[in-house]
Amino acid sequence: MTPQQIIFLLTAFVAVFSAVNVVSTRNMVHAALWLIATLFGAAVLFALLEASFIAVVQVVVYIGAIAIMFIFAVMLTRRDIREGGPQHNPGWWSAAVISVLVFASLVVVLSNWSGFNTVSAPPVPEDSLVLLGKALVSPDAFVLPFEVASVLLLSALVGAVYVAIGNKK
């Protein structure tokens, strides 16, 4: 076992444990906090994969913005959460069966793929961040998806403000 594998296993255990808590805990504020733990686990994995920029963006955007927004929304709708009542639909066991089936079929399909047991990877170029920046804005790479994503963000911003502000008379 290399140190990287030990780090991976610890992080994976924490991530899966907190993900299970996200979907099973009663208290919604706790669920949002467990989601933050899972997102931190993913950030550690990105760092382990030598995707430094993605790891930082994961912490800044996911934990700093999205998770905080979840906590705000939970607190704004707090009165409704009946701590005593059931938090899951009556047919939750069929949801569990479907999830286990999806997991099993994903693993079966992936294990039949020839690249599944790849152990070694080519070295990451020194200037991978420069390459990423150039790929995002170069016309023969990903400038169109990048611009579409920015238009999507802008329209989502306008739409969210319009929907949330309500019609005040």
Binding site: F8, M28, T38, Q58, L106, A121
Partner: protein, 102 residues
């Protein structure tokens, strides 16, 4: 080095847990939390494939960034809808919202 299969199995597990959350939870905000878990699993897959296939091609990381943008947009609109519905109907339980059910 960590085998690629470990990342793929972890991402599949996180995706399935998120799917369970989406299918079984009553609270609309909890459903959105499940969707976040699923998107996170997809991101882990994308970055792992980038690392193990060809790190000089940045497609995996670029798509991860686009998934970040889509997740932010989805959460903004989703939570705005939940808060607006909560204001009008005083509930965030997904099965009570049957106004458009025919």
């Amino acid at each position: 080095m960590v085998p690629l299969s470990w990342y793929l199995i972890l991402a599949a597990a996180l995706f399935s847990i998120g799917l369970f959350g989406v299918l079984s939870r009553k609270n609309a905000i909890a459903i959105l939390l499940g969707i976040e878990l699923m998107m996170n699993a997809v991101n882990i897959n994308l970055v792992a494939f980038w690392r193990y296939a060809n790190p000089t091609l940045m497609a995996g990381q670029v798509f991860t960034i686009i998934v970040f943008a889509v997740a932010a947009a989805e959460v903004a609109v989703g939570l705005a809808l939940v808060i607006s519905i909560y204001r009008r109907h005083n509930t965030v339980v997904a099965e009570d919202l049957n106004l458009m059910k025919w």
